[in-house]
Amino acid sequence: MKYVNVILLIVSVSLPNVWSNSVEASKYGEIITAHVKGMVCDFCARGLEKVFKSEKAVSKISVNLNDSVVSIRMKPDKNLPDKRIKELILKNGYSVEKITRGDAKSETKT
């Protein structure tokens, strides 16, 4: 019975957090991070920013040359499949190392 109480306590403490996180994601949209190879030139990476901005599901994009990373914030309840993200990056002449969603738990290596 003691163990059951402990488990119930943990569940009751963590559930609001889980619920709160999903509400946040729903409100602001998911953040997708693409690790890109070959992205060494700011002038050339402009094209990447433009193609992602033209995607209807994308709310915001930010490029980080230091970490070779493109962060894509989706519109609430919208999604962009990994396949499409990879396609857009390849079309701009770069290679995709990996794509992560939300946190590092869901990760697609390419």
Binding site: G38, M39, C41, D42, V63
Partner: protein, 181 residues
């Protein structure tokens, strides 16, 4: 894109069709020879290497159009190979170009190389500065002092705009700019 240097003034409009192919129109005026060229251009990227810290490219560049010199017109052809390798700190490039315009130019070639270093590494959207040294070789040039040209230059870019400013070893200015749409 506009290029102005000791040799020519060049206006260039380019459309990138896909990652491997771009097409453009080039209008050139060469001061020394009073020659004008109006060419269509096709650039083909046939090899690219991407790593986390660098990118290397090999291009085939070809032009076809009309050359005009002293009231005479002739079909103009240019073919070239170009390659570059860059990191966020270092840059190198090399290009060799041959051209032919029957009766105006009986075949000539020139080659050009560049090395560059970024004095600081700027972030995305910030002002980027490159210090570069450009070496050109024009073996068929009539003037001995134009066979080999050395041009120190500064490349600046921010956002969609790029400017290059330099002065060559003969005192000739270089002014290039590129805008992306």
């Amino acid at each position: 894109m506009q290029t102005n240097n000791w040799e020519k003034n060049r206006l260039h409009y380019h459309y990138t069709h896909d990652v491997n192919n771009s097409f453009g129109m080039v209008l050139e005026y060469e001061d020394d020879t009073n020659r004008q060229n109006l060419n269509g251009q096709w650039n083909h990227l046939f090899a690219r290497s991407n790593t986390r810290t660098s990118q290397a490219n090999l291009y085939l560049k070809s032009q076809l159009g009309i050359a005009k010199k002293g009231g005479r017109y002739a079909p103009n052809t240019e073919v070239g190979l170009a390659g570059d390798w860059e990191t966020r700190k270092f840059f190198t490039s090399y290009a060799v170009t041959g051209r032919y315009a029957n009766g105006i130019d009986d075949g000539s070639f020139h080659q050009k190389g560049r090395v560059g270093i970024a004095p600081y590494v700027a972030g995305y959207g910030e002002l980027h500065t490159w210090l570069m040294l450009q070496l050109e070789h024009h073996p068929e040039s009539f003037n001995d002092d134009e066979k080999v040209i050395l041009t120190p230059l500064v490349r600046l870019f921010k956002g969609d705009y790029l400017v290059e400013l330099g002065i060559n070893n003969n005192g000739g200015p270089l002014l290039n700019w590129t805008a992306r749409f």
